[in-house]
Amino acid sequence: MSLILPKRTLSRRQLLQLSGLSGVGFLLGGCGTNLFSDNLRQISEPLNQSLEALLLSQKPVPEFPVSAIEVDKLLINTFDFTPQIDPAQFRLKIDGEVSNPMQLSMGDIQKLPLASMVIRHVCVEGWAAIVQWGGVRLRDLVALVQPKSNVRYVYFKSADGYYESWDLASAVHPQTLMAYQKNGQPLSADNGAPMRLASPIKLGYKQSKWVTQITFVSNLLPLKGYWEDQGYEWFAGL
């Protein structure tokens, strides 16, 4: 069997067109390309996200030994400022399309089972750090508030104005935590105290710090997340 097609040649004009195309990459680098890369995103993001949703499994991602923790590698990123929150005053509000909306104090949360994991935290910028996180499984909070059957997404609001949204399947993954400990210590303000999202299955920008409100919804809103609304991918699955 042969796949060889009839011989064809390109004209000089076609060659020039093609070589122009390959030069486009260099030209676009310099000028404002956000518009064009947003168009590209509309093509590839649905494809890439459906692949990521397909790859997602509820099986825990293998963890690292405590000896592998990289204390210095977790860099601090914030989009604005670092809120200082009094843990005694802090309340986590859980609402939206749920049967039992509630407000939990840190005391209430710490009475729930403590889950600990040593996982790789991967930043969109390319760096990664092996970190231990301790906290309550988000799925345990989900079980408490009982989302209605039409709920498919979860919004997270932070004290600094940051906002994020997740697919429900990733939110109830057994390693998605509302963490209040890092590397065996209480969480510091820089890392999101009193409570932040932590998970091995999403990029760092999905893992909101200083979370004050969790809202269950059936549809995504026009605002999907601080960085997603600037052009990052929404699913951001690892």
């Binding site: 195309l21 956000n34 093509i43 910028e125 299955i201 052009g231 699955g237």
Partner: protein, 198 residues
């Protein structure tokens, strides 16, 4: 090379599919490298944020988010192009004739004919780039989905090693492009180069 039995000097010719693969490979590699360097600059593999950054004219996407959108779109073009080409050379058995083999290695060691040696080098170099491109895909996947493809990421050891292996594609492809162009000119002059592009 075409069969030269009946002609004293044959004109080199390439199949339409080979030329298509070659063109798409060049374009997609330019997109992958320029958008990849944009991502690199967000946190350089060597030295982190304090490390050396690539100049703007080498970058595609305008910012990290734009670079990622380009990279994760062009990855389909790049890898699917390589995939159908792999099937093509397998089905047509071109892999047996068009790539470096034992004869080329032997020629490099014992041949007294400089033309035969150049030809062997040429075939060896363009054959060697294929595993480099496959490694770029594997190391890229290992970084793209380190949780779901943890078995693949684990093969590379540390994250820094993984990033380095993926990045090494860039200087390797640039050096390859230079060597491949020079060898093609040496082996078949501009006629051979034209046969692949036109």
């Amino acid at each position: 090379m075409t069969s030269a039995k009946h002609k004293a000097r044959s004109t080199p010719s390439q199949t339409f599919l080979s030329k298509t693969f070659h063109w798409i490979n060049i374009i997609s590699l330019i997109l992958m490298i320029t958008s990849g360097l944009q991502i690199y600059n967000a946190n350089p593999v060597f030295g982190g944020r304090e490390g050396w950054h690539f100049p703007d004219f080498m970058l595609l996407g305008g910012w990290l988010g734009g670079g990622r959108n380009w990279h994760f779109t062009a990855m389909w073009l790049f890898s699917l192009n390589l995939l159908w080409y792999g099937l093509y050379i397998f089905v047509t058995r071109r892999w047996q004739r068009r790539f470096a083999d034992g004869g080329d290695l032997k020629a490099l060691q014992v041949s007294q004919n400089p033309k035969r040696k150049n030809y062997a080098w040429h075939r060896l170099v363009y054959t060697a780039i294929i595993p480099v491109l496959l490694l770029a895909i594997l190391s890229g996947l290992a970084m793209y989905k380190p949780a779901q493809l943890h078995w693949l990421s684990g093969l590379f050891g540390s994250w820094q090693t993984l990033r380095t292996v993926h990045f090494i594609t860039v200087p390797t492809v640039i050096l390859f492009t230079i060597a491949h162009s020079l060898l093609a000119l040496k082996v078949g002059s501009i006629r051979l180069v034209k046969s692949m592009f036109l």
